[in-house]
């Protein structure tokens, strides 16, 4: 697949950019880091670099044209690809004026809920009245009108699909069906709800994902397994190794190991690794302190102890606070890829998916490798895309060759 070059988002308030000058023409070979074009926003002029080696396949936006953030501006052909690969691309003209800006990360569903609960819900007067009439919570309804406004039709559809008002607001009589049951919120559920929503509302969350080769990770685990078992009496897991290499990568990129505060970005001298854990009652994040000072065996010991405390509901307050970065692993469910919500006030969280054997191209040959997706959710208020990218690059290097963390 050709690489899509899009109008980058350089700042939180940037919505569109003007292409001042193309430094490359169609057909020009480029190497990673070459300047492709110069863009201008209301605030800055910026040179956009080639993300990788290749050839400029097609330029879709001319000089002196303004396009929204995320709009496709060119295709970069990777070595071996021909221009035929991009014939399926849509014509440039509609792309250029397509008024709907689709920021790269946020182009998920067409009819996303218009606003989170508690936020301002954009809905037509008629839709609001119908929602009240039907007992439907508008926050859960996707809007298809101008600017995501909820229309009558959206409410009618929501009614048909069974969306209801929040349980607290719904009259008890509204739930007569025998198989329905109302589970009152626990304190924990309320805390989770509050924290998750707050994170989504406050942080400029965006995401970056990479699929990495886990061959060496598995190899080292197998090699260390008997040693750790003998010395510490616990079983070393992939999660332990992931926490270790992530801690090492964070040490290389301090901006990812920070907290958002009122006055500024707080850089933290140590990495305290939060470990997302599912209890029957809900989610909790116990912490492995000073992870970079600990051996893999010690990490496995700490993790085992925390899991035990979780199962017996015997966490001490200290066990579940002070994390500077969180890792959430979903390998046990065979999840291929997922995005986690930032555990505020941290600025990033890593979602570690399952290791799955996949065909990959290596030296021109298709080979089978145990591949693992790692997905970084980060707060763009603090961490710019380039910083996140560098962290992910290091992380990939460490996962693919864990020996590097010794260096």
């Amino acid at each position: 697949m050709p690489v899509e070059i899009v109008m980058p988002k350089l700042g939180l308030t940037m919505t569109e950019g003007l292409i001042v000058e193309w430094r490359k023409k169609e057909g020009d070979p480029v190497t990673k880091g070459d300047i492709l074009f110069v863009l201008e926003t209301e605030k800055v002029t910026y040179e956009v670099e080639a993300p990788e080696d290749g050839t400029i396949g097609k330029i879709l936006v001319k000089e002196q044209e303004t396009v929204p953030v995320g709009a496709l501006v060119a295709y970069l052909l990777k070595p071996g690809e021909s221009a035929v690969a991009i014939t399926a691309a849509p014509a440039a003209a509609p792309r250029a004026e397509a008024a709907s800006p689709a920021p790269a990360a946020a182009s998920a569903a067409a009819a996303a809920p218009a606003a989170p609960a508690g936020g301002r819900v954009k809905a037509t007067p008629l839709a609001k009245k119908l929602a009240k009439e039907y007992g439907i919570d508008l926050a859960a309804v996707g809007g298809t009108g101008p600017g995501g406004r909820i229309l009558r039709e959206d409410v009618e559809k929501a009614k048909a699909s069974g969306i209801k008002a929040p349980a607290a607001a719904a009259p008890a009589a509204a739930a007569p069906a025998a198989e329905e049951k109302l589970v009152p919120f626990t304190g924990m559920r309320r805390t989770i709800a509050k924290k998750m929503l707050q994170s989504k509302l406050e942080a400029a969350q965006t995401y970056m994902s990479n699929t990495v080769d886990a061959s060496n990770l598995q190899r080292y685990r197998e090699a260390l397994l008997p040693f750790v078992e003998k010395k510490y009496g616990v079983r070393l897991t992939i999660t332990d190794l992931m926490m270790k290499v992530t801690g090492a990568a964070l040490r290389e990129h301090p901006v990812v190991n920070t907290r958002w505060t009122e006055k500024g970005v707080l850089y933290l001298p140590e990495v305290h690794m939060g470990m997302a854990m599912a209890l029957d009652e809900g989610l909790i994040v116990p912490v492995i302190k000073s992870i970079n000072a600990k051996s893999l065996g010690q990490i496995a010991v700490d993790r085992t102890a925390l899991i035990k405390k979780g199962k017996t509901n015997s966490f001490l307050p200290d066990d579940i606070k002070g994390s500077t970065f969180t890792l959430s692993a979903m390998g046990m469910f065979g999840i291929e890829q997922f995005t986690a919500i930032i555990n505020q006030p941290e600025n990033a969280i890593l979602g570690v998916a399952a290791i799955i054997d996949k065909p990959v191209v290596e030296k021109g040959q298709i080979v089978i490798r145990p591949m693992m997706n790692v997905n970084l959710s980060y707060d763009h208020r603090t961490i710019d895309g380039a910083e996140a990218g560098k962290f992910m690059q290091t992380l990939k290097a460490f996962i693919e060759d864990p020996v590097m963390i010794l260096g």
Binding site: K62, A91, A93, P94, A96, E97, A98, T124, P125
Partner: protein, 460 residues
Amino acid sequence: MADKTRITIIGGGVGGYPAAIRAARMGAEVTLIEKDALGGTCLNWGCIPTKALLQSANVIQTMKESGTFGIKCKGYEVDFGAVMARKNTVVAQLTRGVGALLKAKKVKIIQGTASFTDAKTLQIRESGENVQGDAILIASGSVPGRIPIEGIDGPDVMDSNQVLAMKTLPKSVVVIGGGVIGVEFAQFLIAMGTEVTIIEMLPGLVPGVDKEIATILQKQLSAAGVKVVTSAAVKGIAHKKTENTVTYTIGDKTETITAEKVFLTVGRKPDFSLLNIDKVGIKHEKGAIVVNEFMETNVPGIYAAGDVVGGIMLAHLASAEGECAVRNILGHREVMNYKAVPSCIYTTPEVASVGLTEERAKERGEIQVGRFPLRGNGKALVLNETEGMVKVISDKKIGEVLGVHIIGPHATDMIAEAVLGMMMEMTAEELAGAIHPHPTVSEAIMEAAMVISGGAIHMP
């Protein structure tokens, strides 16, 4: 840079030229083919020239009523040639403007008659030139309708195009067809001093308009001196020297009326007669080109918009359809929205409406109707134009505004508020709650909505 999408548009009327400009703005390479005059029916033989003539009629009206305002006006004289010349000046200025706008957007204009050779190619009949495009928009418009009666081809029987080109003012006219076009011509002629009779087949004038509103209009036209004959079927027109006798039947009775000219205003019909659309298999039904909700015909890449697709034949709708079509050509996926299409009649008083009539709304379910007579509106009294009303129709349960109908001064300008509101799915409450400027006739809209939402202020 990728090649631009090439769009060919047939027709430079209000279905075609705004679409051409929109497409050009969106980066397409546009060719517009027009066989006659830019601006089409609207600018040359419809909306604009008739309104220009009616403005002359309004001046007469003002002079007639001047005494009421304390201004003595000692007679006036109609210079019909000058009335027509002013109309022509207005039309010329607007069509020139359209030409300049198209040129500014680098739209290529071809003067000629288009004819399909294949689904991507049109041939210009006059020059033989072939025009190729990635997509084609047919906006070829409509022509005045005709009815098959004896004497219809007589020398004094004129359609709306011919009426707008006439050199002298007839002493008497029979208008066959009491729709929007017919009543507007009647209004103009009666002000100019011509004897006018409207013959309408249905029981009332302006069929399709809310009955209560149409009745007020009919009364006003009668009061102005227009003779209105309804439920009458025209049987034939007999021409004799300077006279024409129109024969019609009402029930079993046969009657006649004699006049200098006969105006035929029996609607319009879609026109694609010169396009050779059957060659490429474009589907048409009941004389109109068939399109889907994206304004595309059954032949991929060929779209149609405006009068040629039939339905409601109004300039503003044609423009909206044309723009929708080119956005879809250029990669959008937009369903044409017919939710709130206003319609206007430029009589005295003016009539404007949007949405369902009371009759149609009742068929759909329980409704509420808020009426406010202009007698209770300060500005209408200032204008000395208190004949009229505003009527707001809403769904009974939720209050959704289903229709708004206005008869009175500035009705055609004021309806825009209701159009916007209906687009935004307002209920009568919002219409009543919005602060309306005082003193304006528009307050009557607010008051009519208040009747539904909790009671008007200026009505007992």
